[in-house]
């Protein structure tokens, strides 16, 4: 008799209120296998893994683990059996030490008391083994967001789980970090750990997976991986139609030579004398490792990191940008990489999430009032234009999937009629189809004169859209290049050369 597969999901359906999130989904994960889930935002990927982990009950269907029906077991018992979820959203304990985070839930004790020595020692070993160079006693609050994410995965690994579910673990990771993570996953796989892997990056999914299931509108489309599968094929399967990649048109808009933003000799938090012009209708790609000053540059222009000196001229006038409020008033908008903390307003509906940044702008009415009628009609326009998946603009934000939440944020920023849009990982967690929709919206607006600063670790995407590339290192701009026929390899080579030169 054959051993049953490690995990067997049979005919799962899930309905939230009136929204069907999953219909009749089945899949199997074998021991030491990596099963990837692909699908557009809101397709039901997170819902499915949450059901497997025991966070939500399914409406119908059942889940078998090592041949055993685990439908009635709660999350704790499932963890004991060896199912561990690394969720899509931030999940650590900021005020506890790295070591305690790794052990959380299962602190070892000696004589009834928590054995800090063992915790710290073992944590130090594991951190070293997984290549995370931090002291086990630092508080997680003090880690960079990348390190915090790695820590999250180490936590799941540490628990010795048989099945680890990684819900979009690679978003906003650099290529190198991504490669490290994959090495790490493969090592565990070799030792028999199975994975469910969720990602929007088709390349990495193909590279890593033993099996692939595409979810579309809650329905399942298994992919036959026995033959060669192409990215294009996967893309069309995910989207349900052919996906055409958006490309920057070579000829620029009429204002191509006018300068919108002129930055001279900026000094501040991780910025050491940055000067650059951003032209009207230009997309300026920004490249740099974390801590190089690239992100600080973007955030400084929006008043989010400290500036000590330097001048900024926007639209020909000298401006001070001490806060987002002023920046938005000057026509400068910013989308943060941290959607949860710096993006969505969880207590507001979709409508107001789109409108909130324009209350002092075009939604301003006499006597301190907000033009609510205009807000509604604009929100409705954005919902249609960006194909935001929701029942209506009155839906609450937490009923939207991550990618659709991002579209709402994009709408909010566009609604401020920006003259300069600063995009910090704008397509994080966004499915391939939505990503192209967002990108073409931005390309379109840029074509009509808006300037864009584009920061992303997805160099393939960056090279498709940018007119120029600036490379940051140690708080300085080290190279500026026109984006003509540069390949990803050349780009990383330049980036790494700058790093090594220092």
């Amino acid at each position: 008799m054959n051993k049953p597969p490690l995990l067997q999901v049979n005919n799962i359906s899930k309905v939230f209120g009136a929204t069907p999130a999953l219909s009749d989904v089945s899949l199997e994960v074998s021991e030491g296998g990596i099963h990837s889930l692909l699908g557009r935002n809101g397709a039901g990927k997170s819902t499915l893994v949450n059901i497997i982990a025991g966070i939500y009950p399914p409406t119908t269907g059942d889940v078998l683990f090592e041949g055993r029906d685990i439908r009635s077991l709660n999350i704790f018992t499932r963890q004991e059996l060896g199912i561990r979820l690394v969720p899509q959203h931030e999940n650590s304990f900021p005020d506890l030490s790295v070591a305690e985070n790794i052990f959380s839930g299962v602190l070892p004790t000696r004589g009834g008391l928590v054995d800090w020595k063992q915790i710290n020692d073992v944590a130090a070993e594991e951190l070293a083994a997984y290549g995370l160079a931090v002291d086990p006693r630092t508080l997680v609050r003090e880690l960079s967001s990348i390190d915090a994410r790695k820590l999250n995965i180490i936590r799941a690994m540490h628990s010795g789980a048989k099945l680890i579910i990684l819900d979009e673990p690679t978003t906003a990771l650099t290529n190198r970090e991504r490669a490290e993570l994959f090495t790490f996953v493969r090592e565990l796989k070799a030792r028999g750990t199975a994975f469910i892997f969720i990602s929007h990056y088709l390349g990495e999914v193909l590279e890593l997976s033993d099996a692939i299931t595409v979810l579309r509108d809650g329905r399942m489309f298994p992919v036959d991986t026995s033959d060669h599968v192409s990215e294009a094929h996967l893309a069309s399967l995910v989207a349900g139609e052919e996906v055409e990649l958006a490309h920057r048109a070579i000829d620029r808009g009429p204002d191509a030579d006018g300068v919108f933003l002129k930055v001279t000799d900026l000094h501040g938090d991780n910025l050491e004398g940055v000067s650059i012009d951003v032209r009207k209708g230009e997309i300026l790609g920004v490249v740099g490792f974390p801590g190089s000053g690239a992100r600080e540059f973007c955030r400084a222009l929006f008043g989010l990191t400290r500036l000590d000196s330097g001048t900024i001229t926007a639209g020909g006038q000298k401006v001070a940008l001490p806060s987002p409020e002023r920046a938005i008033a000057e026509g400068i908008s910013y989308i943060s990489y941290d959607r949860q903390r710096e993006g969505i307003m969880p207590t507001f509906d979709v409508n107001e999430n789109i409108g909130i940044s324009s209350h002092a702008g075009k939604l301003r009415a006499l006597g301190g009032f907000v033009n609510l009628a205009l807000q509604r009609s604009l929100s409705e326009q954005y919902r249609q234009a960006l194909k935001i998946k929701c029942n209506s603009i009155d839906d609450s934000m937490d009923s939207l999937s991550g990618g659709n939440q991002q579209k709402v944020i994009v709408s909010r920023l566009l609604n401020t009629d920006p003259r300069l849009l600063i995009l910090d990982e704008p397509t994080v967690g966004i499915d391939i189809k939505s990503r192209e929709e967002i990108i073409s919206t931005i390309l379109d607006l840029t074509h009509r004169g808006m300037s864009t600063i584009y920061l992303t670790n997805d160099y393939e995407e960056l090279l498709r859209v940018a007119d120029r590339l600036v490379f940051f290192d140690d708080g300085r701009i080290v190279t500026v290049l026109d984006n003509t026929d540069i390949t990803i390899d050349e780009l990383t080579a330049i980036r790494d050369r700058e790093k090594e030169a220092v």
Binding site: F302, L304, S323, P346, F369
Partner: protein, 320 residues
Amino acid sequence: MQSTSAARKIVDFCMNQAVWILLVLSILIMGLFRSSFYSFGILSNILVQATVLGLLAIAISMIILLGDINLATVGTAGFSALIGVLAMKSGLPVLLSILLILVVGSLIGLVNGLIVTKLKANALITTLAMNMVLQGGLLAITGGTTISQLPDSYKFVSQGKIGAFPALPIVLIVAFAAFHVIWERTRFGRALFAVGGNYRGAYIAGINVERTKIWAYVVSGLLSGVAGWLLSGYMGAVTSSFGTTYEMQVIAAAVIGGVSLTGGRGSMLGVLAGTLLLTVIQVGLAILGIESTLITLAGGLMIFVAVLIDAVRNLYNARR
């Protein structure tokens, strides 16, 4: 199918209007025991007594909405009323004295706001300490005595009548209507919700969160000042333990009225319902002639029931 959805709609409605339904129920039950409860006199008394509580409840709700809390509303009311009344006693014209009360209230709010935003002090403990200082100041200045014999012109709103109808409830209605509009339709109001919902997110969305917070505290202080004026006019005196019985009720009214203590959620209509419910319970218990030692218990139990019903409502909404 049709009928279950109709039934569901009714349950939905009941759940969301729980406090209003409780209010109506309380009025019905009180009336069963004592029919005079439906008299014009008692019902207008309820409105009169709800006014001060209502103003203080709005004052605290402004801050709870931000995700903070303001425990100094009662102290602010007492202290600012004292200053105004003292100024009046030493010759300041009545209208200017009333204005002075509002100014003092707002200034206290400003101080709270500055401490909370600029020093990033915790709001609960800051306003708790501020309340002690204000109540201590009141006691120190009055030396434990009561200041009374306030001129009628000072009391014209608190005790005045328009025809047979007392003037005070008009303040209640106007205040709730005005703040309903402020909360729902103005930039300031929406900024309050945004800041309470996600502080950092609001900042990045271009809202001046510090200014919003400071203004909220100022408005909260101003409203407390108004409540201080009206309560002193109503009692015809400023006592050295001014308003202390409102202390607990103010929070209860706001929270029972559905203003979320984590910030970002709430409605004026809810706060109004909470205010009225507490007042009805209180007036009811008083005129039912219930055994004196049981009043606190009965009041506590009723608030407890309201809390439980509210919890069940939230649970219901979350499960839906």
